[in-house]
């Protein structure tokens, strides 16, 4: 392993290509931390955004007008504002406001406040709801693609609205909307880079600091680029497999 690291030091000395994250332990740890934070943030946000999508799509079909309006309001709010603005708004305006009005518990950690939701928390909230808004619409498209006759058949068999959603409508809808969901989740993983504006130490933030300290902007840009290609690639492959795995012969093919 040490020889591998040393090879990059040699590369720098010989060619001027400075991949400091390989041969300097401090920078390597920083980079790995950044990568893990990006991974962690992505996984959590993907999970919550899908949950929000599923629940939201179900609520959208509610008989109560007020529920439908609330879901619609949520979608409009999150879909029509840039995620960057949302992050800043949540962290600096809403977060601070909630603390000031005493709506969010805060404890004094000796000179600074440790709020219940910190910058990482707000990034999760903001990004999950942002992607979730799109997911609701994606799932709605899937649900609407399920033939009314199928729903009526379920009803005639005695399924309640919830049961028919869980066992009949959703499984079919899910298969229809997987490609669109796939796109949105890929977008979500890429959008996690924006969390650097509220100082979440994800990969973009870390790499920015590394290239500022080592003046190796082109090298680190390239590293960042390829790490994202790999990260999103893994997600795409996994989703593709899932799609194939859930394939029903004769349905939507």
């Amino acid at each position: 392993m040490e020889a591998f690291y040393e090879w990059f030091r040699w590369l720098y000395d010989d060619t001027g290509i400075n991949l400091v994250i390989f041969y300097e332990q401090y920078e390597r740890e920083r980079f790995v931390d950044g990568f893990l934070n990006t991974l962690y943030l992505s996984v959590i946000c993907v999970f919550f955004s899908v949950v929000i999508g599923v629940v939201g799509a179900w609520l959208q079909g509610s008989k109560l007008k007020i529920t439908r309006n609330i879901v619609q309001g949520y979608i409009q709010f999150f879909r029509n504002t840039p995620p960057l603005v949302q992050l800043l708004f949540f962290y600096f305006a809403l977060g601070t406001g909630l603390e000031r009005w005493g709506l969010m518990p805060v404890y004094d950690a000796g000179g600074w406040n440790e709020p219940m939701i910190g910058n990482f928390g707000w990034a999760v909230v903001s990004l999950s709801f942002f992607a979730g808004a799109f997911n609701v619409e994606i799932f709605r498209a899937g649900i609407e693609a399920v033939p009314t006759t199928t729903k009526e058949a379920a009803e005639s068999l005695g399924y309640t609205r919830l049961k028919s959603y869980i066992y009949i409508v959703f499984p079919l809808a899910f298969r229809v909307c997987l490609p669109a969901l796939n796109n949105n989740l890929v977008n979500l993983v890429k959008t996690t880079t924006l969390a650097y504006v509220i100082a979440v130490p994800e990969m973009m933030y870390t790499v920015n600091q590394i290239w500022s300290d080592n003046v190796n902007v082109p090298e680190m840009m390239t590293v960042l680029f390829f790490v994202y290609v790999a990260l999103v690639g893994v997600l795409v492959i996994a989703m593709g497999r899932w799609e194939r795995h859930m394939k029903i012969p004769g349905y939507g093919q």
Partner: protein, 278 residues
């Protein structure tokens, strides 16, 4: 014939060159004296070094230094507001005769303008923190969140050396807001800028409690070609006198700036021992 012409041409070029260099070396200084006015570039947005008072006039520590220069020369003073991005160009283009604009003395800058020695001031890394946080030593920052600006070189040093958890934001405004919201125990930045914040009156519950680190000298500048001539030598003498007479310490007090170790050190170092005169 051609040879003669060639020799004549060379002689003419050399002679012209000699005349122009002899003149060019003091051009700006002569111009200042002839028109009876010195134009000095200072900052207008960097309280308390150079800023506009309520009447719109540029005042501040560096404006006072510019006044000293004009008084010593016996000419009138005109202050021109400059920015970090255009200050060296203003001097090169002759829009200003002298620049005293919070500029760090760096090798690449010395190639463009004539930075006069000795340095008149220094600034370094320090933190802005609530008085109630009770900070006194850098080591107290260990394991605590410290706000910073993304890309600043001292972020790494402060986290490596003192174990502070740097929470770096894109801009200064966000970082200072985060400090005000209590998201971090301190804000790490350039001490001169922190002093400017403290002087603005918006940070009355705050202080700059630590010893400044990584001192970075400031240089005032004359046009590059006049550095080793009258103008440069004169300014060198001005700076020397500012240090030995205690004028800089006096000005720091006047503008409410915390005493800089460098200025005190320079006074002690440059002061002439006059004991033999008794």
């Amino acid at each position: 014939m051609i040879k003669h012409l060639f020799t004549a041409a060379i002689t003419a070029i050399v002679a012209l060159g000699l005349v122009s260099t002899a003149y060019a070396g003091n051009e700006r200084f002569m111009k200042v004296m002839k028109r009876g006015k010195v134009v000095v570039g200072v900052k207008a947005d960097y309280k308390p070094w150079g800023f506009r008072d309520t009447s719109g006039k540029i005042v501040g520590m560096e404006a006072d230094m510019a006044q000293d220069v004009a008084d010593t020369l016996g000419v009138k003073l005109e202050l021109v507001a400059v920015q970090s991005s255009n200050r060296m160009q203003f001097l090169q283009q002759g829009k200003i005769d002298l620049m005293i604009a919070t500029m760090s003395d760096r090798t690449d800058r010395r190639k463009v303008v004539g930075i006069v020695e000795p340095n008149y001031y220094t600034s370094g890394t320090n933190v802005l923190a609530k008085k109630s946080a009770g900070l006194a030593k850098w080591t107290q920052l260990k394991g605590k969140p410290v706000c910073g600006k993304q890309g600043a070189f001292y972020n790494k040093q402060v986290s490596k050396k003192y174990g502070a958890k740097i929470v770096a934001f894109v801009g200064n405004a966000e970082a200072k807001q985060a400090l005000k919201d209590g998201r971090c125990v301190a804000w790490v930045y350039d001490d001169s800028s922190i002093m400017a914040d403290l002087a603005s009156g918006d940070y009355n519950d705050y202080e700059m409690p630590l010893m400044t680190e990584d001192d970075n000298p400031w240089g005032l500048a004359v046009p590059r070609e006049e550095l080793d001539n009258i103008w440069g030598r004169f300014m060198s003498g001005m700076i020397y006198h500012w240090h030995t007479s205690g004028r800089l310490i006096e000005l720091e007090k006047k503008w409410g700036i915390q005493a800089t170790a460098y200025v005190t050190m320079m006074k002690a170092k440059l002061e002439i021992d006059r004991k033999h005169l008794k």
